[in-house]
């Protein structure tokens, strides 16, 4: 087996992290999980705004805690020239800068790409925002729900004449954070090859637009603009969400053989002969009636019964599990979905591990989320400041360690 230190694929990479809230923090935490040094720059005496989002345990935001493990926190006042000077020093050691300030803000602070590339031409500078750095919407605020709305993402889910439906998590935030992570790595690949970094501009709405891929093709080839199709697939039937006695189940019969097996497994062999359902095309046309027929049976069965019977018969099916069922499942525990780690101010707490494995080893969590300014001193030393210089900067309130 290889001698690479496992879980440390990005060990040695240094990230200068200005991000706040979710999307940017997500990109930064991927770097941190994979072993990079993520220097999270937080506002003096305030910190990342997500620190103020409940729920709280011992005055620490549990949301904030879950987004920022494995990072290091340096607390600074970026409005002061000495603060900017520290950033310029950090830039010499930095591979990737991540920021999600309002468009243009970081440039006005004197910390933008044009300035930092003078110091370090290999720097990769990623700007993540709601609408991107161009276009008529550029200066407007954007949250996850709005990116979902404008991008066509929300319109892709829900009943045909019903409300567009956003997903139960902040999907646009995390998908764009993940996309930004990919883009930053690509730029690092290029910087290794050419010796020069670049700036990357990523809009949450643009990433979310990927959801519209098939409906865009539908329009372009068939002139169809119908965006959402309810709980059943528009091209194959039966393929969707059905009522069960204790909730819901998903059932997929995507070829004739499976359709036959499904009918038998649900004691509904009469459906095989029903002309409305004789082939996939007819089943799609009559999918509401089909769903009604199947639900007449599934409504009387528990999710686990539907799942067992159908899987045994070779028909893909699953109960719709609640979050807690998934989170505490035998499967989650066997594969090590979460890990208990010490978190300052809270104690032992459960975090999600990074889902990537390298040579089949999971990325272990090195430490929990830092308190505000917890790593200020160690980072300052690492970039070459002396003890005296550091003390003076604390006194002058350029740097801090409020540890909230």
């Amino acid at each position: 087996m290889s001698v690479i230190e496992t879980g440390g694929a990005l060990k040695g990479i240094k990230v200068l992290d200005f991000t706040i809230a979710v999307a940017g923090a997500f990109a930064a935490w991927q770097f941190a999980d994979l072993g990079a040094d993520v220097w999270k720059v937080e506002k003096y005496d305030y910190g990342d705004q997500a620190r103020t989002w409940g729920p709280f345990i011992n005055d620490l935001s549990t949301l904030y805690v879950s987004y920022n493990k494995n990072k290091q926190s340096i607390e600074m006042d970026l409005s002061k020239p000495e603060g900017k000077a520290i950033i310029y020093e950090m830039a010499k050691h930095t591979d990737v800068v991540l920021e999600n300030f309002k468009s243009g803000s970081i440039d006005r602070l004197g910390l933008g790409y044009e300035k930092l590339r003078e110091i370090n031409p290999r720097i990769v500078f990623v700007s993540l925002s709601g609408f991107g750095g161009s276009g008529p919407l550029m200066k407007y605020p954007c949250y996850d729900a709005i990116a979902a709305a404008r991008s066509g993402f929300a319109a892709s889910s829900g009943e045909p004449d019903g409300a567009p439906m956003k997903v139960g998590n902040s999907i646009c935030d995390t998908l764009s954070g993940l996309y930004a992570f990919n883009a930053a790595l690509m730029a690092l690949v290029e910087a290794r090859r050419t010796g020069t970094g670049c700036r990357i501009d990523i809009a949450m709405t643009d990433v979310a637009m990927r959801a519209c891929e098939e409906t865009m093709m539908d329009y372009s080839k068939y002139g169809s603009t119908q965006a959402r199709f309810g709980n059943h697939d528009r091209l194959i039937a039966p393929y969707g969400v059905f009522e069960a006695r204790d909730g819901f189940a998903v059932i997929i019969a995507d070829n004739e053989e499976r359709w036959q097996k499904l009918c038998t497994a649900l004691d509904s062999t009469h459906l095989k002969d029903d002309p409305r359902f004789s082939d996939n095309e007819r089943r799609v046309q009559n999918r509401d009636a089909l769903a009604a027929e199947l639900e007449a049976v599934t409504r009387g069965l528990f999710r686990s019964q539907i799942e067992e019977r159908l899987l045994k018969a070779g028909v893909p099916a699953s109960g719709v599990l609640t979050f807690i069922e998934a989170y505490t499942s035998n499967h989650a525990n066997t594969i090590g979905l979460t890990q208990v780690v010490h978190q300052d101010k809270i104690g032992s707490t459960r975090f999600y591990r990074n889902p990537l494995r390298f040579n089949n080893e999971p990325c272990d969590i090195r430490h929990g989320t830092p308190l505000l300014g917890q790593d200020t001193e160690s980072i300052m030393k690492e970039i070459g400041y002396t003890e005296d210089e550091i003390r003076k900067l604390y006194e002058d309130k350029v740097i801090g360690s409020h540890l909230i």
Binding site: L63, Y140, Y143, A163, V189, T205, L235
Partner: protein, 396 residues
């Protein structure tokens, strides 16, 4: 700028095009290895019959190359092994143990190319009680709890596109890029693996935290959001509009622009948490519905822009085609496909500085096996006679 120019990927996936697309969109040479005769099952998506291709493959396979090689034959497996030294990465979307009997598992291929990055995406993982569950995005979503959390209270709403596969694929591509960077430094590749299920679980940003903090779980509430209100989607005269107020200041600005002074002055509505926790789901919700149903989405948009609060229409393809922001960002691009003609496709979200005009030129999807002979000739120096023999034996 195409940052991945020079990167070569052998793509042995079937039915999950998102991995290869992330690499191909940004300049890598992605060579699909497909079953002779029928090819990747993604070609069948939207097809009118079993023996035809659907239109979606023109999008899913864009900018990739295609070779038809039967990897169930020993000769096919030998071709893969011989190709591996010419590639930086290889990716599969089945458990690696399936590749061992074929002699194309990671350990074997590593001996042909030490720097190889070998990517593995499975729906549920390569261990654990669910590892053999069928590979469908809908099953991944059903077992993640995320399907259950999406929709109105009466029932969950199926998400209209394969979100689980996106998370799994984009996580894997990032892991593979990280391993590639490492391999360049150390000369050693790695096996990089993940499951779509674990990726979806790990982007949970509210449930585990609410459990830890409040010992409560958020409910399925449609388009609402538990702690910042109002966040919801409203029916206007001519469409749907999303509003997402994140603070009292934004609420007051919005109320002022909407001409609703009661919303600012009335202590029931003026401040959070009272507004969100006690009154939002009561009469304030109805007042907002009444307000929006009396105006157009253009008027709603004007109000939100004036107040500088997050709000926007729920665009469908119709609106996106005429949207100025989409045009400036070049997120809808024409791609000429040799088989189906002109198509409109979604553009590339990552804008790299120094992007020039032709970075948005997207190469069309390959026909099945289009590059088999050119690549075998170029990389393995096979002669026409040799290739003819392989073809006769149905290896390629």
């Amino acid at each position: 700028m195409k940052p991945l120019i020079g990167l070569r990927v052998l793509d042995l996936t079937d039915g999950n095009p998102y991995i290869g697309s992330m690499f191909a969109d940004y300049g890598a040479e992605v060579v699909k290895i497909e079953v002779p005769g029928s090819g990747d099952s993604i070609r069948r998506r939207g097809a009118k019959s079993e023996d035809q291709e659907g239109i979606y493959q023109a999008y899913y396979n864009r900018a990739k190359k295609s070779m038809t090689i039967d990897i169930t034959t020993t000769q096919g497996q030998e071709i893969i092994r011989k190709l591996v030294p010419h590639f930086d990465m290889l990716v599969i979307n089945v458990a690696e143990e399936n590749m061992a009997p074929l002699g194309i598992d990671y350990e074997t291929l590593r001996s042909y190319n030490r720097k190889l990055v070998y990517g593995v995406l499975t729906p549920f993982g390569e261990d654990g009680p669910w590892k053999d569950m069928p590979d469908y995005d809908l099953l991944v979503m059903a077992r993640s709890g995320l399907l259950d959390k999406t929709g109105f209270p009466e029932k969950p709403t199926r998400i209209g596109f394969p979100l689980g596969y996106y998370y799994g694929s984009w996580h894997l591509t990032a892991g593979m890029l990280a391993a590639y960077l490492k391999a360049q430094e150390t000369g050693e590749g790695q096996n990089v693996s993940t499951s779509s299920w674990q990726c979806v679980m790990s982007v949970d940003d509210t449930f585990a935290q609410c459990l830890a903090g409040m010992n409560e779980l958020p409910k399925r509430i449609g388009n609402g959001f538990p702690t910042t209100n109002p966040t919801d989607t409203f029916r206007c005269k001519n469409g749907w509009f999303s509003l997402s107020i994140g603070s009292d200041q934004q609420w007051w600005a919005f109320s002022k622009a909407a001409g609703k002074t009661d919303w600012i002055e009335n202590p029931k509505y003026s401040h959070d948490p009272v507004r969100s926790m006690e009154n939002y789901f009561g009469d304030l919700d109805q007042q907002l519905r009444d307000y929006f149903s009396g105006i157009t989405i253009e008027e709603a948009d004007r109000v939100c822009k004036e107040a500088m609060v997050p709000g926007g229409p729920c665009n469908t393809v119709n609106e996106l085609l005429n949207d100025e922001q989409v045009k400036v960002r070049q997120m809808i691009l024409p791609v000429e496909d040799p088989k189906i003609g002109e198509t409109l496709q979604i553009g590339k979200p990552a804008k790299f500085l120094r992007d020039d005009e032709n970075d948005n030129d997207i190469a069309s999807a390959p026909s099945l096996g289009q590059h088999t002979e050119p690549i075998l000739r170029q990389l393995l120096k096979l002669s026409d006679v040799e290739m003819e023999a392989l073809r006769k034996a149905s290896v390629i």
